[in-house]
Amino acid sequence: MTPPTVQTAPAADMPDRAPTPREILRRRALRHRGFQIGLSILVGLLVVALFAPLLAPHDPFAQTLSARMLPPVWADGGRWDYPLGTDQVGRDYLSRLIYGARVSLLVGFGAATIGMVIGVTLGVLAGYFGGAVDHAVNFVLTAQLALPGLLLAMALVFIIGPSVWVVIGIVGVLHWTYYLVVTRSATMRLREIEFVAAAKALGASRRQVLIGEILPNLVPQILVIFTFELGVAILAESALSFLGVGIQPPTPSWGLMIAEGKEVMFFRPWQVVLPGIAIFLLVVGANLTGDGLRDITAPEGRT
């Protein structure tokens, strides 16, 4: 008995050949509005950070004593040469916000990369070897999840001595669990698929299988987590800087600017409001991009 064959006429609006994976991705991306908004915000702020010296109207460190505590331009007494006003020591607020994007993005990308290296390494090893390795990694994961991250980060940054690089290192070292959980289960699945067995049969070494076969297939998932962790790291940096155990003055960091503005927030609330909006925008941008990437790269294409 032969199975019944179904005749399918090609749909009129479909091209003759099947769309390539790249075309499918592009089509999904063009339909996903959240992804477009998120990516625009992220790229926009990246451009602002890269071209800060060209965009900022003033030196973010220059204190102009004659122009202290100016309000933004829309308030009474605001001046166009300081569009968002100045702080207590007469530094241009807009310029400091623009340069603040550099600090946030530097810490975000740096910390998310460190976390990625740790988490992906542990995840791939645990998923591929299983058994005792998996148990050991699982134990480390359980312990890490129980640690109060912010508190530990505060203590370590304070002890080692606060600087941008210390903040990047510590935030990165404390944020790898998400990478681990996802890459471990993905590796377990990949291990059983034919192409890995084929590579092994062809005589590929363990290392070749892990780096040449498994890792490339994890890239979409790693990218999704990276964008989320970007947001997490930026929030962590802003909290540390706000509490005084992160980026130190006079470096313009949004969290630190909120701490400085807190002293005068009842009289000049915009000094707290503006940097907060900047953090919010950047993190929303990262999260929307991550959500979108996840939908776009999902095998069945959740839309």
């Binding site: 312990a143 991250g149 530990l152 505060m154 002890i159 947001g231 706000f242 009842f266 999260n287 959500d291």
Partner: protein, 305 residues
């Protein structure tokens, strides 16, 4: 089920021991406690003297065993900064943080559960999109900023609530909202997914066929199963509230464990910081264990497995 629980308890204990050792090592090797007591520019002889008096010159394992033994007996060591037993400090401050944690978890439940349920019952509707929007926003708002904005609006502009302090229950309203908001996205998303899964399941179709509709269907049939994973996440979130209290208590000048932690860090008070990190981790481990046990008790499927 007993075997399952015993396994969980054993894992929790092992994690607790390892965490205590790691925090002890980190804080005792990253800094020299003798210098912390003597001050940065003390004479070497003075520092050496302090090292002898406090016993910092002995091997690490001996000091760890002493410390761990003390913790088990309820002796948390002596704070150099506050000049008090750490146990006394913790006992003084813990009730405030516990109250804050419980109140903020209530805020989370009151906001996240209805939002998640309504979103799941009307998938892809305007309500669903609004719920998702709230989750995305709440995830991106810096907690400390939300706190300051709330103070500016509710305490200063509209004068509805006190600015800071912990004298009355009213003082805890704003902090609870701020701390509670941070858990809303996770709990809401989980409620929504759980509810969506359950509503598509066979037994709900059967219940529908038997004539159950609307609220009765949701309450009597769907909710029970949909909320199982939420319960364990709530337990974990309660544990997380303790370390989350650092920011909230600092902003609202609440004298709880979180603020104690920040002040002790800034005062280089290693014994206190060490106990607090360990304590927050233990609360988290305990809450996780409670969640596992609760789940096993509530879900018959887990009991057999």
């Amino acid at each position: 089920m007993l075997k399952y629980i015993l396994q969980r308890v054993a894992l929790a204990l092992a994690v607790a021991v390892v965490l205590s050792f790691v925090t002890f090592l980190l804080l005792n090797f990253a800094t020299d406690p003798a210098y912390a007591i003597a001050g940065e520019d003390a004479e070497p002889e003075v520092v050496e003297q302090i090292r002898k008096t406090y016993g910092f010159d002995r091997p690490v394992l001996v000091r760890y065993a002493e410390w761990a033994g003390g913790v088990l007996r309820g002796d948390f060591g002596e704070s150099y900064y506050w000049n008090k037993p750490v146990a006394e400090l913790v006992a003084d401050r813990a009730p405030v943080t516990l109250l804050l944690a419980v109140m903020s978890l209530s805020v989370t439940v009151v906001i996240a559960l209805p939002l998640g349920i309504v979103a799941a019952l009307n998938p892809n509707s305007a309500l669903d999109r609004m719920a998702l929007g709230i989750a995305v926003s709440a995830q991106a708002v810096p907690n400390f900023w939300l706190g300051l904005i709330m103070i500016i609006l509710f305490a200063v502009q509209w004068r509805l609530l006190p600015v800071s302090g912990d004298a009355t229950l009213m003082h805890f309203v704003l902090p609870s909202i701020v701390l509670g908001a941070s858990s809303v996205p996770a709990v809401m998303r989980l409620t929504r997914t759980g509810m969506l899964d359950v509503m598509e399941s066979d037994y709900i179709r059967t219940a529908r066929a038997k004539g159950f509709r609307g609220a009765a269907l949701v309450r009597r049939h769907a909710l029970r199963n949909a909320l199982l994973p939420v319960i364990s996440v709530l337990a974990v979130q309660l544990g997380a509230k303790f370390s989350g209290s650092v920011i909230t208590e600092t902003i609202f000048a609440i004298n709880g464990l979180g603020r104690l932690a920040l002040e002790s860090i800034l005062g280089s008070d290693i014994p206190t910081v060490q106990i607090l990190i360990f304590l927050f981790a233990i609360v988290f481990v305990a809450m996780n264990l409670l969640a596992d046990i609760l789940n096993a008790a509530l879900d018959p499927r887990l009991r057999i497995a």
